[in-house]
Symmetry: C2
Subunit: 335 residues, 2 copies
């Protein structure tokens, strides 16, 4: 190798790794030789010897879903800032793949792990914790004792959104849930109940319809709600995608949004801000969540045994053009 600089292998290694206690002259000689020979350290060998790969793994279900892609974007940025590489693994929603990847990745492939919306957590969390392997969960809303978690304030955000609708004058507010196996879905529902309770509105079970975060189901659910004998004046969908489904159902049912029906989503995916949609929604800071998760992971990498923390990021109510006071409200309201 670069022992054409007339030094031993160890010294080259020390130069490459920027060790102290290397003579300035030697260092320069080695660097010159490296440049000349175009020497590039063998990443794998280095990883094996040092035990560190300088890479972190990101485990997600999909890459193109607008939810994941924004989180990934944030992660990517932060990882590259920190001078790490990113190994991206997608499970394509195949639950069993998750534990498999975790095992592989945590065994010398990457130094730490970021898991977005874990689906098979119980299968491997004990192992990871026992080894003090650094990992951070993103958007995990179930209980996971001793895990570092980053998520949005699903409950508070939803509560704020519903409270806003109530403030506009709505009393019958439909709720389309998210996928039941996702913790965030439950949190959002709790936020809905909380807001109703705080306003002293009796919860009407017929106004709650199960959804799955997707547009198609959102459409169906909205149809059901709109066909009710006493339909809601506003509908909250647990995701923007579902909210788009609601918008479609409203259009097809001939109700004008927001005149006849207010629609509020959750997420603030990029499409929500397009002029054609202008969806009012509860913004979840996905990119920041990715970034923060990386920061947390970096901190764990430096100090693996620190106590676990749960980071809850504030949401933001984004009011666009799909929400308004219910018809007749202004008239009815004394002022």
């Amino acid at each position: 190798m670069a022992r054409s600089a007339g030094v031993s292998y160890s010294t080259v290694s020390r130069v490459v790794n920027d060790y102290a206690h290397v003579n300035e002259g030697t260092r320069e000689r080695v660097q010159a030789a490296m440049r000349e020979l175009g020497y590039v350290a063998h990443v794998t060998a280095r990883a094996l010897a040092s035990g560190r790969t300088q890479a972190i793994g990101l485990l997600a279900q999909e890459i193109d879903n607008p939810f994941f892609s924004v989180v990934i974007k944030g992660v990517d940025q932060a990882v590259s800032m920190a001078d790490y590489d990113l190994l991206l693994c997608t499970t394509h929603s195949r639950r069993e793949k998750e534990a498999e990847y975790v095992a592989r990745l945590s065994h010398g492939m990457v130094d730490g792990l970021l898991i977005v919306l874990p689906a098979g957590l119980p299968e491997y969390v004990a192992q990871l914790r026992a080894e003090d392997y650094p990992f951070v969960l993103i958007d995990h809303d179930s209980d996971a004792p001793g895990c570092n978690v980053v998520n949005a304030a699903n409950r508070d955000g939803t509560r704020e959104g519903i409270a806003y609708l109530i403030g506009l004058g709505h009393r019958r507010i439909g709720f389309i849930t998210g996928r039941q196996d996702v913790g965030a879905a439950h949190e959002r529902f709790s936020g809905y109940r909380d807001a109703l309770a705080e306003a002293g509105i009796r919860a009407d079970e017929s106004l709650v319809v199960e959804g799955d975060f997707l547009e198609a189901r959102g459409y169906e659910a909205a149809r059901e709600l709109l066909l009710l004998p006493h339909p809601p004046t506003a509908i909250f969908a647990s995701s923007d995608a579902a909210a788009f489904g609601v918008l479609g159902a409203a259009r097809d049912a001939g109700s004008q949004v927001p005149r006849d029906l207010s629609v509020l989503g959750f997420d603030d995916i990029i499409e929500a801000s397009y002029p054609g949609a202008a969806l009012s929604t509860v913004r979840q800071p996905l990119r920041e969540m990715g970034r923060v998760a990386v920061q947390r992971l970096m901190s764990l990498l430096a100090e693996p045994t620190q106590p676990a923390a749960r980071l809850v990021m504030d949401t933001e109510l984004v009011i666009r053009q799909t929400t308004a006071p219910p018809t007749g409200w202004a008239a009815r309201r004394p002022r």
Copy 2:
């Protein structure tokens, strides 16, 4: 390790790697022990010893840009099908990062490389080729002798698009170019000239405005065109994003699309299909390009010295609602 099965390390390795010449009984014993002990091979060590990492690297400029993200999606799918891992590196458009990543990745980090829209190719291509390192370029439209390339039929696709506009009756067709440092931009421009020439229409230089694929510049360019003494009746933008800029400029200038102005884009990003936009465009099969590139890479992995090939994927003209015959055309045309 799993020598609790009473066999040597080599045998374990042979079982893990599915070698022939392992006694069935031994194999089962080892597998049982592995399961029991939860043995997971150390990826890095294995890579160092075998020289193969079972991972491929994907180098792109960004991840969230709709162009890249779709390609990445295709790559991701194909890679996971092939049972490889994906190491994703983003240069964030910092040109010098590219060669750096290539060097690192090709030195033991991954078995092969996919480079989307290479920007600093000359800096490392010689090295890669000298080492017979397997790599495939995606959307590289300049000449790169001896390189495996996958891209869209930028020239033919554009020609077809322009020919379609001509067929509608347009004679003055504006053209907004892409970024000049991207080969595809030149190809698309050539397609434009070809189509005009074939139809016997004299090229009018004032109808060609430089753009950069982005929406903002598309808006500006369209303004320029619309302010011309004899403005075009149709504008082709070298990307959908730019086409959206054109749409905006048309709106602000009070011209109705497609009545007063036809707009044709290139790419068919997801936004183009949204009802609010309904942009006519030349579809580039980005996902398929990603997939095909992986297949090609896998083939190179198996046989690194095979002759290089250039795969040109057909585009498809997608007609939505931003293109129509120019006003007065039907009247003027005898029928």
